[in-house]
């Protein structure tokens, strides 16, 4: 057993194919007016990275302020704005579109053997909507920001703050439609565009989890849209749907908001889980254990997640009976997530595991997501929730899921598919180091926050009692390490665009259809529409395929030369 599965073509002769989706057309307009899902994915990747670093800089400011117990770095009002903008940018402009709009956009059509998403122009429209939303957020920041928190809680947002609720609300509304259109496009594509032989249960699990996330986007996001509209109209015209002075109920806002925003956390995590299914299979050379269970667990998460929203409201005065039901449902939604974790673990069992960077991030995901998920069960239990809610325990919990889970999965996916997207490998050693740094930095940053939360440090304050300082210093120090961990990939991935080793079609020896075509792919993805005649993650099929290829080449050296000629020219 070798310690790596990487198989690169001979570097002295290998070339990037001349005709690919990056070179087919040139000029700025060919990008801005493109219908190609791969180009749109790249546009998304650039824009979400931009916003990730803005959001990350804001996080840095938060941690810097919390280095000392006094509110000394910035005014408390400013602090409120900083954490609000951090949340809004990270959730609506990074986490929600992160995997679906970049990796999903790029690879989902390829995985099912389609030439493009079903609605290419809608796909481009959704990127433009995202950009408009992003510009509105930047405008809001330049204009003084907003300090409602990312939840726009009424009546605070409608009556009591004088910051830029309207522009932020519009930004979320517009960016929301970007997500609706992405989800709609994915569902239609998965239903109607599969290649011959690509049955539902031959689809890679990445496609399944994106499908489940798309259902949530399509059903949940419009509710957020109308809720934001109601908040904005209440703020600007004074109609009274949430205004207690007129008989409206602020709790209704919470119900409508969390009806979207709880499923939204699964919009964020499900596509990440899809990435993990792909990497864990590839780097342990085994079909994902319990494929069907993992596929259905994605759908189960999507369904259950619509019936747990009120666990965000246990201390807001909802009835004991709904607390009971929602508490129970919250524990139920942990079951399909656990199914995934267990099945991934069993996939590792007796697998030929190798430790390339995507796999390191995958291990990071599994550990951190498990902690994040389990603490979610603590919080779903109403008794502990009443103690822990609005403390740093919550902050630690959702950062474990979102940053420890989703961001790890995103980075795993970026490294895993980087050779396919660009045709070049990333540098392995330094990226393994980056994965390690990220993991260490992450734990330093967020683990102390669990303890702080149990001790009772409330979230959303710039100042705290001096006895909490030691753990906060730990957390801030960890954030610095984490920052390095996130900066490294940007540097070496950019470097690899020019200097990385030529990756060839299938450097990981992976089974997905996206690996059975050239890297970077053609604009139309495949030379001819592939026929799926085997199950997903069938490494034996791949082996036979390559054996047959070698035999053909061996029998017919002329043909081999022919095959190499275009790539060499």
């Amino acid at each position: 057993m070798s310690d790596t599965i990487v198989s690169l073509p001979d570097q002295s002769t290998a070339r990037i194919p001349k005709d690919n989706f990056l070179t087919r057309e040139n000029g700025l307009l060919s990008w801005l007016l493109t219908g190609d899902h791969k180009r749109i994915a790249i546009l998304y990747l650039i824009s979400i990275t931009f916003f990730f670093f803005i959001g990350g800089a804001l996080a840095g400011l938060i941690r810097l302020e919390l280095l000392t117990p006094q509110a000394d770095l910035m005014a408390t009002d400013t602090y409120n704005k900083v954490f609000s903008m951090h949340g809004i940018i990270m959730i609506f402009l990074f986490l929600v579109p992160s995997v679906p709009a970049t990796l999903g956009n790029f690879f989902m059509p390829m995985m099912i053997g389609a030439k493009d998403l079903a609605l290419p122009r809608i796909n481009l429209l959704s990127w433009y909507l995202y950009v408009i939303g992003g510009i509105l957020v930047v405008y809001t920041m330049v204009n003084g920001g907003v300090d409602t928190g990312w939840t726009f809680t009424t009546p605070l947002s409608t009556h009591y703050v004088n910051t830029n609720v309207v522009t932020t609300g519009l930004a979320v509304f517009v960016a929301g439609f970007s997500s609706v259109f992405t989800g709609l496009n994915f569902i239609v594509t998965i239903h109607k565009m599969r290649a011959p032989g690509m049955t539902w249960f031959r689809m890679p699990l990445f496609v399944w989890s994106n499908y489940a996330a798309s259902i949530l986007m399509v059903l949940g996001t419009p509710v957020l849209a109308i809720t934001i509209v109601l908040v904005l109209l209440e703020r600007t015209t004074g109609i009274g749907v949430f205004d207690p002075a007129k008989g409206g109920d602020p709790l209704l806002f919470q119900h409508l908001f969390w009806f979207y925003s709880h499923p939204a956390v699964y919009i964020m995590i499900l596509p990440g889980m899809g990435v993990i299914s792909e990497t864990i299979s590839t780097f342990s050379r085994k079909r994902v254990f319990g494929y069907t269970a993992v596929a259905f667990s994605s759908v189960a998460i999507a369904v259950f997640s619509f019936f747990v929203w009120a666990h965000h409201m246990f201390i807001m005065g909802i009835s004991n009976y709904s607390t009971l039901v929602f508490s129970l449902m919250t524990m139920l939604v942990a079951v399909p997530s656990a199914i995934k974790i267990f099945n991934w673990t069993f996939t590792l069992y007796k697998g030929s595991i190798t430790f390339e960077t995507p796999m390191l991030y995958t291990f990071g995901f599994m550990g951190l997501f498990t902690i994040g998920g389990l603490t979610g069960v603590f919080l779903g239990t109403s008794g502990t929730d009443i103690h822990l809610t609005e403390t740093y325990f919550i902050v630690a919990h959702f950062h474990f899921v979102m940053v420890g889970g989703m961001l790890m999965a995103f980075l795993a996916g970026i490294h895993f598919w980087w050779p396919k997207m660009t045709g070049r490998m990333y540098p392995e050693k330094i990226s393994q180091l980056a994965a390690l740094v990220t993991f260490i930095g992450f734990n330093f940053t967020f683990f102390p926050q669990f303890i702080l939360g149990v001790l009772g440090m409330p979230r959303r304050y710039a100042a705290y009692p001096p006895e909490f300082q030691v753990l906060n210093v730990f957390s801030t120090a960890g954030a610095t390490i984490l920052g390095v961990g996130y900066l490294l990939p940007v540097l070496y991935l950019t470097w690899s665009l020019k200097y990385g080793a030529i990756a060839g079609d299938n450097p990981w020896q992976a089974t997905g259809l996206e690996w059975q075509t050239q890297s970077p792919p053609l604009t139309e993805n495949f030379k001819e529409i592939p026929v799926m005649d085997h199950e997903a993650y069938d490494y034996e099929w791949l082996e036979n395929q390559q054996q047959a290829e070698r035999n053909r080449a061996g029998q017919n050296p002329e043909r081999q030369k022919e095959m190499e000629a275009p790539s060499a020219g």
């Binding site: 079903a118 011959p196 690509m198 249960f201 109308i226 809720t227 004074g238 009274g240 749907v241 529409i529």
Partner: protein, 259 residues
């Protein structure tokens, strides 16, 4: 495992138009986009996408309907008194107008499918006129509300609810004076009235804009050469907006008008 291959086989034949299309589809019509294997697959896909879009619309209006249901349960007397301020005759007329427009739209789809260009143009123009008629009547209704100071937020008067005898509509409906607290909640009713009908009217305006565009294209014969997807999908949208109105009419105008 033997089952899975059987499933795979049947899916090969049914779920994938790409297969059958390769043989059936000799000519490539100009409207067939490059990433579809066949015209049927393209039409199917667009149609499915439209239904999904309408689903998102259902969820969008769903938020408003939820708010309506909750507040109507809490403030029933206020909702009844509020609904008496609406003009049920205008409302009924508008319902008739919209149903007629749905009929002309359906006829338009039929004309497109049977390749009758002038019939399609006529149907679309009629739909457009009926849509504008609906908005005209809605404007009359809105101006009545403005005159009676029933616009929440801007200038809201409780006169009609505290002293129904001073108000012709309330008097005709036989309203009793509401307690001050309940009378205030009529503002919630009118908030929802303006939100729901306003959101509906916005959809009408967007629809009328698209209709205008379609009429120009239909005159050029764009939809009567076999490619009817756009007309069909717009028809779905128009019927959807119509259905929303039917719910709004029942929920807002007819609250206490049963025997």
């Amino acid at each position: 495992m033997p089952d899975s291959t059987a499933i795979g086989q049947s899916a090969l034949e049914t779920a994938n138009p790409a297969n059958s299309a390769n043989t059936a589809n000799h000519e490539h019509p100009s409207y067939l986009r490059h990433h579809f294997a066949s015209v049927e697959q393209q039409a199917d896909t667009a149609n499915f996408a439209m239904w999904l879009f309408l689903l998102t619309e259902v969820m969008f209006f769903g938020g408003l309907f939820t708010a309506y249901l909750i507040y109507r349960n809490w403030y029933y007397p206020a909702f009844v008194a509020g609904s008496h301020q609406l003009n049920v005759y205008w409302g009924t007329l508008n319902t008739v107008v919209l149903i007629c427009s749905s009929f002309t739209m359906a006829m338009g789809v039929w004309c497109a499918q049977t390749r009758r260009r002038s019939g399609l143009v006529l149907c679309l123009i009629l739909t457009l006129i009926l849509g504008l008629g609906f908005l005209g009547i809605k404007t009359i209704e809105y101006s009545e509300k403005i005159e009676k100071h029933h616009v929440p937020g801007f200038h809201y008067s409780l006169q009609s609810f505290l002293d129904p005898d001073s108000d012709a509509a309330a008097k005709a409906a036989g309203d009793r004076p509401l307690p001050l607290d309940m009378a205030r909640h009529t503002e919630v009713y009118f908030s929802l009235y303006f939100l729901m009908t306003g959101m509906h009217a916005l959809h009408m305006i967007i629809g009328i804009g698209i209709l205008g565009f379609m009429i120009l294209r239909a005159r050029a014969g764009a939809y009567t050469a076999g490619h009817t997807t756009f007309v069909l999908n717009f028809g779905l949208y128009w019927h959807f907006v119509d259905i929303i109105w039917i719910y709004l009419f029942a929920l807002l105008y007819l609250i206490s008008r049963h025997a």
